[in-house]
């Protein structure tokens, strides 16, 4: 048996979080250090996941399998493949940064704050590592609780509305998924997700299950038109909450599509792919325009996230159009890989941008673009980093933001040149909304006394943003290792996607 690495990655932060809670707010400094220690150890522990990963197989690795609730054949069944492993790494990496970012800023109940993030980290790792559908569902729903608390306790003035909206939206979506999972269990007699892949389903069943999954995942991604919870949640969430929300939680929707929808309901996916494609393209174009006119920086980045996630779902569902148009699958894998890379990259870039807004917010307590102007005069180092992340957000080659969009656009041309045409509008729209914000916030004369009194980022903030900048750059200049990890899994997924269950 493998050293139970995945269990460690789930339970170490959860119990670590409880330990931080036990240290308590009275000993705030200690609780911070404990939280940092736990997050760093978790990250270090996750590195062997990448280093020891077998890049030649699509099989699950680092598997742990024990019976849990035997009456319903629910198992404690963990494992990762090329799709989930990078997402776990992203989670452990970003959590460290979030802990550092909250170091001084969180004055109110700091230990509870850090504890919530650590517990959430464990639960999110659980979502990505679960191979048992019920275990997955437990983590999936449990994860909402710390996020609910984070926004509800440390959030802004309208946090109650935002949390309720967030909770109801995602919860309602997930309930349908639960029904679908139970149905699948009744038929197949197992909760193992991989058993669902081989379980034959009729078209009607597939369509219903597909729609149930779609509802759950579309809310999480979020896809148009169930996206309106995201801007509100982001605006009210504290910086760390926004970072986790954008970097990790949105990815669960995308992950759901590749783990559940495509392989479990291939025929329904094939016949309903137009729905996802249309919604994805709407996300790219419609939301691109909406992002343009936002006056709140966080809202702008939130809308930009929706547009970027449109590329993820677009890339995932391109394969069927390619199959119909060309009769082959060449290019479908590129779409899937592009979507996956886009998820990782978006985690880094949007996380970094939310941190940038956080840096400004900590100083002037405003997210309003109009409250700034000429920040580069007083915060040159910050300005350089913010412009860099803005460029990454606009998909500049050499940054990670480019890789996913590039692959998806290349692949979508094979599916239909018009898909590529609409998707590529992001080149113009993404540049316009991101750089227009940069122009109004970073450049120009010092706009007011507030900006005149700004102090540049300190070592702690510089560390967080600097590390992210390096990651964005490395992934942009050399995405080969990431693509290599995903390759076999994506190929296997393609097989499952086109193997009819009828």
């Amino acid at each position: 048996m493998e050293l139970s690495l995945l269990s460690t990655l789930i339970w170490l932060p959860v119990f670590g979080g409880l330990a931080v809670l036990a240290v308590g707010d009275r000993r705030a400094a200690l609780s911070r250090w404990v939280a940092l220690g736990v997050s760093v150890v978790t990250f270090v522990a996750s590195v062997p996941l990448f280093a020891g990963f077998d890049r030649t197989t699509a099989a699950m690795q680092f598997v742990e399998r024990h019976p849990w609730i035997e009456r319903f054949r629910i198992e404690y069944y963990l494992g990762v493949d090329g799709i989930s492993m990078p997402l776990i790494l992203l989670t452990t990496f970003v959590t460290v940064l979030v802990v550092i970012a909250g170091w001084k800023v969180i004055r109110e109940r700091p230990s509870q704050y850090f504890a919530a993030f650590l517990v959430m980290e464990g639960l999110m790792n659980g979502v990505f590592a679960s191979l048992d559908a019920m275990l997955f569902y437990v983590f999936w729903e449990a994860m909402l609780i710390p996020m609910f608390i984070i926004i509800g306790v440390w959030g802004g003035p309208r946090r109650i509305y935002a949390t309720l909206k967030f909770f109801l939206y995602t919860f309602l979506g997930s309930v349908l998924m639960l029904v679908a999972l139970i149905y699948l269990y009744m038929g197949s007699g197992s909760y193992a997700i991989q058993d669902f892949y081989t379980f034959p389903l009729g078209m009607r069943e597939q369509v219903l299950i597909f729609i149930a999954f779609l509802t759950a995942f579309a809310v999480k991604v979020p896809m148009w038109p169930v996206h309106t919870w995201l801007p509100d949640a982001h605006v009210e969430a504290p910086t760390g909450g926004s970072v986790i929300l954008a970097a990790i939680m949105l990815k669960m929707g995308g992950y759901g599509f590749v783990r559940f929808s495509l392989p479990i309901t291939p025929d329904a996916s094939m016949s309903l792919d137009w729905l996802v494609l249309v919604l994805s393209l709407i996300a790219v174009v419609y939301i691109g325009f909406v992002a343009l006119v936002q006056s709140d920086m966080k809202k702008l980045i939130a809308y930009s996230s929706i547009a970027h996630m449109g590329f993820v779902t677009l890339g995932f569902f391109l394969g069927f159009s390619i199959l119909r148009r060309t009769g082959g699958l060449e290019g479908a894998g590129m779409g899937l890989e592009g979507g996956m890379v886009q998820m990782i990259s978006h985690g880094l870039v949007s996380g970094a941008l939310f941190l940038c807004v956080g840096v400004l917010y900590d100083r002037l307590h405003s997210r309003d673009i109009a409250a700034y102007g000429g920040v580069a005069n007083t915060m040159p180092r910050f300005a350089a980093l913010m412009v860099f992340f803005a460029m990454a957000n606009a998909g500049l080659p050499g940054t990670s933001g480019f890789v996913g969009e590039f692959l998806v656009i290349l692949a979508s041309f094979r599916a239909n040149p018009w898909f590529a045409f609409l998707a590529a509008t992001t080149l113009v729209l993404g540049a316009a909304y991101t750089l227009w914000m940069v122009k109004r916030v970073v450049f120009g004369e010092v706009a007011n006394d507030g900006v005149a009194g700004l102090t540049d980022i300190d070592a702690r903030e510089g560390l967080v943003l600097g590390v992210l900048a390096v990651a964005v750059l490395v992934l942009g200049v050399w995405p080969a290792p990431l693509l290599e990890v995903m390759g076999p899994t994506i190929e296997n997924l393609l097989d499952l996607m086109v193997r009819s269950k009828l």
Partner: protein, 652 residues
């Protein structure tokens, strides 16, 4: 060996840029300019060595990968170099001009607080431009393409406190992105047709897929080669500022003058020209695409030149001239005279960089006054600038013997010989363009250096020649502006210099027709002295002399008659108005509409909060029933019982 040299060529400016950018405060101002000058200098020497090696046969053309960027779906994407005579020539031109600009910047930016940052940017630019011209695949081409765009963005907005500068850089980036949008689609089309992003593989397989059709609109199939080339050309239109994507280039003059010379005249804006020439094996497969290139180029060449006539900002005159000259290069490409296009790219790089730097020298002397109406008579104060600017101006108008003469004459003759659709229109445009070029060039030249001294007393008392770091690059650029044509004309145009790096199909081979009246420079000169272009240029020069020097009193009369046209020109054909009063507000309005109507009213208002309200309302209704009075409940029970009994009875 070759690979190490090539890596050194691209990495030394990059390393210098990183050091100057990150450690600018540590190494100081002198440290920043020395390290970047050394980096670019090394790059130039090695590029020249490679070029010489290729010419002398000591080196073989090189096509190889540096590393694998990624493999997706079986497509191997690499970073690699293709070094043949075309790219080696470009590398040498780019690094030479860049080196000159680096030296010049030492003088021009002397008092600027962002000194180190500036050197970091221009070195970074050199790196990006080299990556672009040295690429052996479309991925890297696109990387370089966008990277030069970003550095251009940073440099136009270098003085980021100026509202005009940060408006101009945003505009430049977004307009370029419109071009890149087409460019990326072109690359996507290539991948889907050829299954590879590698130049060599794509060119080799092109004849086999070029006749396929792609159904863009239902029932309207496009020839694959035409689709690919037109999409790629949209990218070139953005980067090389062709109508209607030209609007960003004049505004880019908000950046410091050295970068106007380097990026917005000599190198980056010619990337589109280079790209089309590099893609000649593809463009040769589609006469339609060539016609598009020809017509767009000709339109830019003539109509943008006209705009130069009404500008009063010295840099903007030169900027419109650049637009027009880029149009000439595009015309050459459209006529399949790729060699002539690249030839003009090279000569233009020298004389236009020279003119920009001379303009910068004037601007330094004038204490950053750029209005030519406030200049005049500077000849007496700035002899070196005067003579070098004269050389640049003569080269620009194509005065016989100067470098611009050879390249421009070759283009005009090539268009004359071309038979593809649009060639006649293009010929007319380039001929008329010669008159316009001579007129605006010498209008500026006379207004700056001759005539009455119109500046204020304070400025006049401080007028003096610029320091040697400024004038030395002027002199060094003036030399090739004179001799580059003589030295390279025959080799570049007729003796197959480019070899296999440029492909021209036999039916399009206009340059051999041009060469019929002799290929040697002397023959060119003799032929040129008796051709239309020469007389047209002289007419333009004479008109400028008459209107701006000899009889300025005639000017109001002349302009009064042309009031309508002048208003059209002064408003730049209303392109800016279209963009800033229709397109930009339209996009914002659409965004606002979608947001308010779609997100807030329909989705949130009606569906989300609406269903919440619905639940609330329902709860309210149900609450009414629970009154708390016992007799209400008893009454409801009796009614219910009665209904149930009735139902059972009916059923029974």
């Amino acid at each position: 060996m070759m690979e190490q040299v090539l890596l050194a060529i691209v990495l030394s400016p990059l390393a210098a840029a990183v050091i100057a950018g990150l450690f600018g405060r540590v190494i100081g101002r002198a440290g920043a300019h020395w390290i970047t000058i050394l980096g670019v200098g090394a790059s130039f020497l090695l590029s020249a060595w490679v070029l010489a090696g290729l010419l002398g046969g000591r080196l073989e053309p090189y096509d190889g990968a540096v590393y694998t960027w990624g493999i997706s779906d079986g497509v191997r994407m690499e970073v690699g170099f293709l070094i043949d005579r075309l790219s080696a020539l470009m590398m040498t031109v780019v690094t030479f001009v860049s080196l000159m600009v680096h030296v010049y910047t030492v003088g021009y930016m002397r008092e600027d607080p962002g000194y180190q940052r500036f050197f970091s940017y221009i070195s970074l630019f050199t790196f990006a431009m080299l990556m672009l011209v040295m690429a052996n695949n479309f991925l890297q081409l696109f990387f370089g393409w966008e990277a030069v765009g970003v550095v251009s963005y940073l440099l136009i907005g270098f003085w980021f406190k100026r509202p005009t500068a940060i408006h101009a850089n945003l505009k430049a980036f977004v307009v370029n992105r419109v071009g890149d949008f087409g460019f990326l689609l072109g690359i996507a089309a290539i991948l889907s047709l050829a299954g590879s992003l590698d130049y060599a593989e794509v060119f080799a397989s092109a004849p086999s897929w070029s006749r396929q059709t792609v159904e863009v609109l239902a029932g309207r199939p496009w020839d694959a080669a035409t689709l690919v080339c037109v999409l790629l050309f949209v990218g070139a239109m953005g980067k090389s500022a062709q109508v209607p994507l030209h609007v960003w280039l004049p505004d880019s003059m908000e950046g410091p003058t050295p970068i106007s010379a380097l990026i917005h005249a000599a190198t980056m804006v010619t990337a589109g020209v280079f790209m089309v020439a590099r893609m000649s094996p593809l463009f040769e497969l589609s006469t339609t695409a060539l016609s598009v290139v020809l017509v767009i180029g000709a339109t830019t060449a003539f109509f943008m030149g006209l705009l130069g006539l009404v500008q009063n900002d010295i840099k903007r005159v030169v900027a419109y001239s650049t637009l027009s000259q880029l149009g000439y290069m595009m015309v050459a490409l459209g006529a399949s005279a790729y060699a002539a296009g690249i030839f003009h790219l090279g000569t233009h790089a020298f004389f236009k960089a020279l003119l920009f730097l001379a303009a910068g020298s004037v601007i330094i002397a004038m204490h950053h006054e750029q209005d030519i109406r406030k200049m005049g008579g500077l000849r007496r104060y700035m002899p070196v600038t005067y003579w070098t600017a004269l050389i640049g101006s003569l080269a620009l108008i194509g005065f016989p013997g100067f470098s611009g003469f050879f390249s421009k004459d070759a283009i005009i003759e090539a268009v004359h010989a071309s038979a593809i659709p649009g060639a006649r229109y293009a010929y007319l445009c380039v001929l008329l363009g010669v008159f316009v070029t001579a007129l605006y060039t010498f209008r500026m030249f006379f207004m700056v250096f001759h005539g009455k001294e119109r500046m204020d007393e304070h400025t006049r008392s401080h007028l003096k020649e610029s320091p040697w770091v400024v004038t030395l690059p002027l002199v060094l650029l003036a030399i090739p502006s004179v001799v580059a044509g003589w030295m390279t004309e025959q080799a570049l145009l007729f003796d197959g210099y480019f070899g296999s790096s440029i492909h021209v199909s036999e039916s399009h081979d206009v340059l051999s027709t041009v060469g019929e009246h002799g290929t040697a420079p002397s023959a060119f000169l003799v032929h040129g002295l008796s051709g239309y272009p020469f007389f047209i240029a002289m007419a333009g020069l004479a008109t400028a002399w008459l209107l701006y020097l000899r009889r300025p009193d005639m000017l109001p009369q002349a302009t009064a008659r042309l009031r309508g046209i002048i208003r059209l020109l002064a408003n730049k054909y209303y392109f800016d108005d279209l963009n800033e009063k229709v397109i930009a507000p339209g996009a914002r309005g659409l965004g606002k509409g979608l947001w308010k109507l779609g997100d807030e009213i329909l989705i949130d208002g009606l569906v989300v909060n609406g269903s919440a309200r619905m639940v609330g309302w329902l709860a309210g209704v149900v609450r009414q029933v629970q009154t708390g009075y016992l007799y209400h409940y008893a009454f409801a029970m009796i009614i219910g019982l009665a209904l149930m009994l009735g139902w059972l009875l009916m059923k029974g």
